[in-house]
Amino acid sequence: MENRARYIYGVAASARTASLGPIGIEGKEVYTIPYGGFCAIVHSCPSEPYQSGNEEAVKKWVRTHQVVLDEAQRELGTVIPMGFDTILHSRDDAVSPDQLVKDWLKEDYKRLQDIVEKIKGRDEYGVQIFYAPGLLAKQISDESQEIRKIREEMASKSPGTAYLYKQKVERAVKAEIERLAGEWFTDFYRRIKGHCDDIVIEKTKKADKNRVMLLNLSCLVAREKVNNLGEELEKINSMKGFSVHFSGPWPPYSFVAKPVAPVKEEAK
C-alpha cells in the first residue's frame, strides 16, 4: 500500500523538483515537493512517528535529519528547518500526501516568505559562556574591599576564630561572584548582540563540576559577520576564568518557530 504520510525535513526557498538521493532517515529517498517559490524536503513514510527506546538509534535519526538539511541547503539555498518527527499525513484517499504538502505550502505561503526574508544569508550559532568560580575566587577576594577587610581581621585571630573567618570569606566571595555574574551577563550579552541580527536567550544548564554556565544564546548571524562574532568570543574566551563554546553553523532552528507576522489570512 502507498505510504499515506510525508516526513518533512524543511522547506527550501526554491521551486525545484529535485531528488536528493537515499540520504534520509533509515536510507529513505529524499525529494522535493514544489509549490510556488518553495519546495518541501520530504520522504515518503507510513503514518507513524519515529520512536525508539534505543538512544543510539535516536541520535542517528537526529543526525540524519541534520545531514539532509545540510545537503538541501547546498542544493537549494535557504532552508527553513522543521523539528524532528514532523509528519504530514492524509487520511482522505482523494487527497494524495504530496498534494497535502502542496496545500500546506500554499496555506502557509505568506508566513514562509516572511521567515525566508528574515533568515536569508544568515545562519544560527550556539554560544555558551562558562565561568570557573575556583579560578576567579582569588582575584575577586583580592579586589573586593570588603573581603580584604575580613581577611585582614582574620590574620590577628586565634586558629579557631580564624576558621570562622575563613568561612565568612568564602561566603563573601560567593556573594560577590553572584553579583558580578549579573554584570558579566549584561556585558557579554551586549557585546555579542552587536554582531547578531537576532538573538534568543536560552535557559542555562548545569555544567560540569568546575564550571558554571553564565550565558546560553542562540544567535542569528549574517554570513559576513561571523568572523566578527568569533573575534569577540575569542576575547571573552581568553579572559582568565572564562570559557566559550561556539557551535554552528546550524540551520536557523531557533528563529523559525514563532510566526514573524501574525498568522492570518490576508484579504484576497
Binding site: 537526529v62 557551535s247 518557530a257
Partner: protein
C-alpha cells in the same frame, strides 16, 4: 575563535535544536499520539529517561509551552476569523489526525 560542528562536541547543541525547535506546523495536520503533537517528546524520553525529564523540568516546560501556544492559537482563531470563518486549517477536514493507538 571558530565555530565548531564537531559531531561529539556539539551533539547536545544539535539535539536541543532538532528536538525542541524548528518550524511548527498547524496542529491539525501533524500526526498526534492521543492529542500530543510528536515534536520529539517521545525522543526526549528515550534519550533522557522519564526521571531525568521530570527532574530537570523538561516535561513541565514542554507542557507549559504547549498550553501557552494552544491558548494563543485559540485566541487568534477566535479573534481573526477569515471571510470563510476559518483560520489556518486546510480544506481537508479529514486530514485531522488522531492515531490514538500508537
Amino acid at each position: 575563535m571558530n565555530p565548531t560542528r564537531d559531531t561529539h562536541a556539539t551533539l547536545v547543541d544539535l539535539l536541543d535544536r532538532v528536538l525542541d525547535k524548528g518550524l511548527v506546523l498547524d496542529a491539525d495536520l501533524i500526526i498526534h499520539v492521543a492529542g500530543i503533537p510528536l515534536l520529539g517528546v517521545k525522543l526526549r524520553a528515550a534519550l533522557a529517561g522519564m526521571e531525568t525529564m521530570l527532574k530537570y523540568g523538561i516535561w513541565q516546560d514542554w507542557d507549559e509551552a504547549q498550553r501557552v501556544a494552544a491558548t494563543k492559537e485559540y485566541r487568534q482563531k477566535k479573534m481573526a476569523p477569515t471571510p470563510e470563518g476559518e483560520v489556518a486549517t486546510l480544506g481537508h477536514k479529514s486530514a485531522r489526525t488522531g492515531i490514538a493507538a500508537l
